[in-house]
Symmetry: C2
Subunit: 367 residues, 2 copies
């Protein structure tokens, strides 16, 4: 059943673009107004393609629509897999007027966006995110890229899409673990910038975990609006945008330690946000009750609350030192000075950091 | 002996940058004003590094200067070699405030620029071109990238340097064949936009082939000024900038046929420009005497005047069809309507094109 389309504008001057949100948009929404030329290359993966590739192709009536299907998983977010997109584009003779379409989760979106940023020095692309995480996070903001064995997202570009299409119906086929991972980023927006949204989430979290459609649509809309607002204020991550990385410095260390793909990004961010909240308490920025409130919500979202088994504080320190949020060797972290109010600081006492790391290491993991 | 520095500004608004030209600048010119952070990564190759790497490092007093030395040659302009730059940056823990420096010819410049465009989604870089070709062409304009087995420069980005340092003394160690390849691009500027420069070149070509320093400095300065002017008018290659591709569509086909690196880029462009001039005559745009004049100058620059042995008109047509200057399947070519005046046109009669291809194929190559 086709419902109404909710449109949200990401305001970036001449790179502004719309986010279209609705139930059942895939296959019924005409996306040709966002395609300049005659060629479209839809990039998807082996999990998503059988479910939605035909519907996605139907969004581009009258165009030459080619497809490339990649293996599924964060461990394939590498040059070899990216190159399969370039192979397909060149074999099918796509010109610089082609449009790429990312149909899948964050990995497909990041790789397709980066392929679009680099193919013939830049072609347009459209995002059709099919996971909760990619709908509320990676499809908004223009960050694209691939991983390097020595660090996540180390190779990439800022490249804004022409449009983002979010069909909430795709979430009905999402595994529960990925729903939880997406909810981590949803909760993040409440924690960094929107206390009323955080309160709403505390009431809605059971519905969200249970995939109740109206609750999901509301959570996605408020999350995208929050991210779009932050990105519009700071497109190139000069300042404010850094608050979107709450939990990510710890989280990236967890993902790298666990091996790409063993912990989902959102799971690592969930634990990372708890670590940031814990450190915020130790630095006297928030009350213990605030961190506890965040912990309860993360737990109810069925996210892990400890670092992976076997990971030590030393592992964290080593892995965080190559994190790209470092500037000239100093550790900069996103912390909380209240629920709904984040700050970026380099003023982190090393004994407090050590205490937080120890508090989250050494336990058996919930994963 | 340190001579005076000639400074030329490439005017691109907030991405403007200077080109510094002079004899003996390497090692004596302080480039730290163009470095924002404390880290510098100098990228060079096995041929250039033994000659100039120490002098280049001396341009960055007080900075952490790391180096990476790549194998030399167009055939290494690929992802595997590019990745060695990322490896070095991550192993040496370079942050997003690092500055990359390209020390070498066009291949080093294109790869280092692309690495800078992609490393942590974009860091600044400085060009120190050491070949005539890269001094007058690839160091100006912001085009960066690598090759794909199915086409040259298919993967890349527009990324402007912070500064370009041209030390004309480096040309004294350049092999004669590379001098000629560079002169092809110098002659190009005269052909597309500057008839007085073309006349000057006809008088100076013997001095240039003989590496006479004052003639070289003048040729480099006028070439860079011409390219800087065109790039400033059309940074993203929307229109005018396409004239810089005179000879390149034919030339890319030649390079691909010959196998990357077997013909130098400038050699292929030299032959390609003669083909463009020949086709311009057949289409009634210029007089036979004009093409003849271009041919004499190309010949005196010791550039090949025929396609590679064994290459057929069909090879050209096949290889040109994936050239990125194609738009929606139509062949667009840069041609001449006078010496010093180029145009871009899709209005190319296929029998005239065929006649030009036949005229340049089938002979033994001068290479």
């Amino acid at each position: 059943m086709r419902e109404s389309v909710l449109e949200l504008k990401v305001d970036l001057g001449d790179r502004s673009y719309p986010i279209l949100i609705g139930q059942g948009l895939l296959g019924s929404q005409d996306l040709t107004p966002y395609v300049a030329g005659n060629q479209v290359m839809v990039v998807s993966n082996e999990t998503v393609a059988p479910l939605y590739l035909e519907a996605a192709k139907a969004c581009f009536p009258g165009k030459q629509v080619d497809t490339v299907v990649l293996p599924d998983g964060e461990k394939y977010k590498d040059w070899q897999t990216l190159n399969r997109i370039f192979d397909a584009l060149l074999e099918r003779r796509h010109t610089r007027k082609t449009t790429l379409v990312a149909l899948g989760g964050g990995v497909v979106g990041d790789m397709t966006g980066f392929a679009a940023a680099c193919y013939q020095r830049g072609v347009p692309f459209i995002q059709i995110p099919t996971t909760l995480l990619s709908q509320v996070d990676s499809s908004v903001g223009g960050k694209t890229g691939i991983n390097h064995p020595l660090g996540k997202n180390m190779i990439g570009a800022f490249h804004q899409p022409e449009a983002v299409l979010i069909d909430t119906a795709t979430l009905q086929t999402l595994p529960p673990r990925e729903v939880s991972a997406g909810l981590a980023e949803v909760i993040k927006y409440g924690l960094i910038r929107d206390e009323p949204f955080l309160s709403w989430l505390e009431g809605a979290i059971t519905d969200l975990v249970g995939l109740q459609p109206e609750a999901l649509a509301e959570a996605i809309h408020r999350s995208c609006a929050c991210k779009a607002e932050v990105v519009a204020l700071d497109e190139r991550e000069g300042g404010l945008r850094a608050i979107l990385n709450l939990g990510h410095t710890f989280g990236h260390a967890i993902e790298t330690f666990a091996g790409y793909g063993n912990w989902l990004h959102g799971e690592a961010v969930g634990t990372g946000m708890l670590m940031a909240a814990d450190l915020s308490v130790r630095l006297g920025l928030i009350a213990p009750a605030d961190a506890e409130r965040a912990g309860v919500l993360i737990g109810r979202a069925r996210l892990p609350e400890k670092a992976p088994a076997g990971m030590t504080p030393e592992d964290f320190l080593t892995l965080m030192a190559v994190d790209k949020k470092n500037v000239d060797g100093n550790l900069r972290l996103v912390l909380l000075r209240a629920l709904g109010d984040a700050l970026v600081t380099s003023d982190v006492k090393s004994d407090s950091l050590q205490a937080t790391l120890e508090a989250f290491c050494g336990a058996s993991t919930s994963r």
